[in-house]
């Protein structure tokens, strides 16, 4: 361990740590653009200047290794002036794009100008023009004028995704980031470059122009795209979820996440969800019912067919929910027939050990291990093949299926499952997102109960490695939707719908969406409602 003094504070660091790493560890502020803890050192931005005692010139903090007894200072006037001039040089050709740039509100230039700059500009030359909207690939757009040539994206494609797609071309004033001849930025980790770009040069096609950053709140949670369980934060406001960014976790995902996980927020937004429960009975659809009500109807049917009811679970729900659901199911249905009719539906069972080398795993369910753990607790060993046999043998009449959130990976498996159970008398399907296949194919007595997305629940996922990761509910999108524990509890006739242990005061402290659950006082009084005139645009009452 090496001791040094930074800004008057004594700091002890490991051998080989650079100045900027030491300052980052201690939480001290230093201006920087090109350094990133997950990438190699470049030393191109020249902003992380520090004054080291005994050295007449200022040194860069990112490439200077701390030695014993070093006295480092980055608050003196000399350093301040150097940083201001450095910022000035970075901004010489920077376009006045703040009003249209996505990065406004989280922009490195804006933040560091207010923190370290605050100088008057004396730049009088016209600015250099470069290519503005360059399509780098299927997910990322480049704006060369805004680029400050920190080379983080280039180092990323070289070191992390190892696809070597980006580079910096031309010299001097005409330098631009671009893709090598014949390639495009088309790998499974391309959107990480958007995260690490400190300015608005690289922007995500998905999030571009959708929402301003300061209207978004963020909360940390776990990705449910695959069994790695990368730590992420979702950005949301009362209109819905907007984007997903990775959070550093040393054990699980490091600094990065894959592109597949960037889409998970779409399955929690209102457009993709069931707005109300549905029932299909003898050719008639009854739609827009309260989910609890549908569950109660289903419970009557199940009560008649208790011995022939099967519970089919995917690995997409939290451990706490599984506990409650299985406990409640077994208590009510019992194992009087000798075999517990609970089955694990995993669409990717054959690919469970696939790994793409960086983060993405073949098993697209976040909580397979969690489900297996609960199965072991209750000594359930059945597989999906057993389900097929049981249906053929006529032992199953009613099926309760807890479906997945993201149907894109379950496409074929969904078709198979739907056709498998379409022969049964009664089907209760629990899912948060809309399943069109189900609604078309199934012709028996069908109950569809909308579920809460995992972003609205608190719970635990266990990843492929056995690491338990807990997360808290972010917000509520569908306040009437049920959790697995509640749904199964209601269907087993338990009127008091047991809440999973994790869904306690912490969840009730989460503020629901204003549209879904406005307090009565915010709704207009009855007579005001009667007199409200809905103005139809284009109506020709005016002359």
């Amino acid at each position: 361990m090496v001791k040094c003094t930074i800004n008057g504070q004594t700091v002890e660091v490991k051998e080989g740590t650079t100045v900027i790493e030491a300052m980052h560890q201690e939480g001290m502020k230093i201006a920087h653009y090109c350094w990133h803890p997950g990438l190699s050192v470049a030393g191109v931005c020249r902003l992380c200047m520090v004054e080291i005692q005994g050295n007449p010139r200022l040194q860069v903090g990112c490439n200077t290794v701390v030695t014993e007894g070093m006295n480092i200072n980055n608050t003196s006037d000399k350093v301040k002036e150097a940083v201001q001039w450095g910022l000035d040089f970075h901004l010489i050709n920077h376009p006045l794009d703040c009003p249209v740039c996505d990065q406004a509100g989280e922009c490195g230039l804006q933040d560091q100008y207010m923190e370290f700059g605050q100088y008057d500009s004396i730049m009088a030359e016209p600015k250099q023009k470069k290519h503005k909207v360059v399509d780098l690939g299927p997910t990322v757009v480049l704006d060369s004028e805004r680029c400050i040539l920190c080379s983080r994206c280039v180092r990323f494609t070289t070191e992390v995704s190892k696809t070597n797609e980006l580079g910096i071309f031309n010299r001097g004033d005409h330098s631009e980031v671009g893709t090598h001849e014949g390639t495009s930025l088309d790998n499974n980790y391309s959107l990480n470059t958007v995260d690490i770009c400190p300015v608005g040069a690289l922007t995500s096609k998905d999030f571009r122009f959708k929402q301003r950053v300061w209207y978004l709140k963020e909360q940390k949670t776990i990705c449910n795209g695959c069994s790695t369980g990368c730590n992420i934060k979702v950005y949301f406001n009362t209109e819905g979820f907007f984007r997903v960014k990775p959070v550093y976790n040393e054990q699980v995902n490091g600094y990065w996440m894959c592109d597949q996980g960037r889409d998970i927020y779409k399955f929690a937004n209102k457009q993709a969800r069931y707005q109300g429960g549905k029932r299909y009975n003898q050719g008639q659809w009854v739609t827009d019912e309260a989910p609890g009500h549908v569950a109660m109807q289903a419970s009557k049917v199940i009560a008649q067919n208790k011995n022939k009811t099967a519970l089919i679970l995917t690995g997409q729900y939290t451990v706490e929910e599984y506990e409650i659901a299985i406990q409640s199911f077994l208590a009510s249905v019992g194992n009087s027939i000798g075999i517990k009719n609970i089955y694990h539906w995993n669409s990717h069972i054959s690919e469970i050990n696939n790994f793409d080398g960086t983060l993405l795993r073949g098993d697209r369910n976040p909580n397979t291990k969690g489900l297996i753990k609960v199965f072991e607790k209750y000594n359930i060993q059945t597989q999906v093949e057993d389900l097929e046999k049981a249906i053929e043998a006529g032992q199953i009449d009613t099926a309760i299926v807890a479906g997945p959130e993201d149907l894109t990976y379950y496409k074929q498996s969904n078709q198979k499952m739907v056709s498998l159970i379409s022969a049964l008398k009664n089907i209760v399907w629990l899912q948060s997102t809309i399943n069109p296949e189900l609604e078309e194919k199934v012709k028996s007595n069908l109950f569809i109960i909308p579920m809460k997305s995992y972003l609205e629940k608190s719970g635990t996922f266990i990843n492929f490695n056995g690491i338990e990761q807990s997360f808290r509910a972010v917000t509520t999108v569908m306040s009437q939707a049920l959790t697995l524990g509640q749904a199964i509890g209601l269907m087993m006739g338990d009127q008091k719908a047991v809440l999973p242990a994790a869904e306690t005061a912490a969840d009730h402290a989460v503020k629901p969406f204003v549209q879904e659950s406005r307090p009565a006082s915010q709704v207009m009084a009855e007579e005001r409602k009667k007199n409200e005139f809905i103005y139809k645009r284009g109506a020709t009452n005016e002359r």
């Binding site: 901004l91 933040d111 100008y113 006082s521």
Partner: protein, 565 residues
Amino acid sequence: MKHLISFDELKSDFVKNQSLQVEKYIFIDAFGDQAIEVPKDDIVVLMQFLFEVKQFDFLIDICGVDYPDRALRFDVVYHLLNSITGQRLRIKSQVAENEGVESVIQVWKGADWFEREAFDMFGIKFHGHPNLRKILTHHEFVGHPLRKDYEASRQQSCATSLPIHFDNEPGSPGDVLNPKLLPLNIGPSHPAMHGTLRVMAELDGETIVRANCEIGYLHRCFEKMAETHPYQQVIPYTDRLNYCSAPMNNIGYCKAVERLLEVEIPPKAQAIRIILAELSRIADHIVAVGTGGVDLGALSAFFHLFVFREKIYDIFEKLCGARLTVSLTRIGGIGNEPPEGWYQLILDFCDSMDKEIDEISRLMLDNKIFVKRTMGVTPIKPQEAVAWGYTGPLLRATGMAHDIRKLKPYYGYDQLDFKIPVGTSGDIYDRYLVRIEEMRESVKIVRQICKNIPEGDYTIRDKSIVLPEKKDVYGNIEGLMNHFMLIIKGIKPPQGEVYDATEAANGELGYYLVSDGSAAPYRLKVRPPCFAIYQSFPSIVKGSMIADAIAAVASMNIIAGELDR
């Protein structure tokens, strides 16, 4: 030399009193304000002591602040003023949600409505208060709106109005009407009720036996809006407080924020702020005198005076583009440089205003009918006025020469030559006399300044407080980024609290600003001058005739925007 009492002196005096738990007191001296945090059981004894012995004769304000994360959730904050030395003191006390604190109405009559408002907004109970019920929100309103868990836009509708009711007095509850007397309801939609005031009276013939006023018809939730908007965005809300003299509210607010940020604005900005304040004072007194005359039937004065109000609007319009709700000041100075010829315009206005004041003087104050209707009507003694919390022209009409511009001068008022007009009996005639003389003095002040405008910049140039010039915002990237960051992230003053008061047209307009380091104020309490004045109305008009009650309301110059906020 005024002797300002230091904390050591106070502490030694407190210790001599056996019933005070001085060891629990916390003495705070920050941002130039002195504050003491005391346990709530000591409040009444302490207040009595400060009032009688230490001569803190004014109870300026009582308000609450909500800290929902604390066990003792509410802060009850008292502001006191010693009118002889000009020393201010803040006493704070922490109260839990279901407990209450002893009312100080026994020490100062003027604590009445302030405590009712704290109860309405937070739910803090004041034991011993005879009338602890809602004052600003409507009677069907459920909840306490200024608590942090009450959402700002959660409206609650009201379908009925309250029947005629009075304040509880010993022996006669307020909601029981005397069947022998005639109940009369005036307002809130009434020509003489200056907008939205409601006066209820029980008459014996024409004499008022009991009177009561109901306010809150213009409660626009200014304090909640201030908590949900960044500091700069609160300035247009302050405009709408006393809308007759909008720049004065802006100046008061910006002065408080600047004290919290510990910046000093340049001398030119100070001079221009004084010009704007004095012109608004003239504008406000024009409305007071004009509409006061209209209420008594004297319409000509109104039409004469409003010509001059239009001239003042012209002056404001040349500076910022708006006539009435101007938002002229910014934190750090004023909004923009006055155009060419602006000072000359003002000097011309001053000359014509002088002549007009003479004319109005003759038209109204020498008019026999006016004299008969206002002289000797509802007089008030200075001690009673101070007990109620009167400040401004109404207090000066009683004979007390109390003006913050002379007591604790700011912005260079001490270098200017002007007098404080003072009345003798506090009756309605004296109030109008004082107002008209004050207009004269204001003209004098404006003339003095316009002739010696200091050189310099009209605003400070601190990049973390003041927006850059437009040529920089559209011209270079640094200006654009600076502008962006100030608008998105806002100004972030240090944590702390400050109380700042200016002499507005109606009296002492104070702003109590609590900051938690974020971009919006944590709590902004406005101490409106006419709130303290109007609470004395029921007791003042007892025994006079109904026509005198109308004249009294007019003379108090109650501006509902300020009263109800």
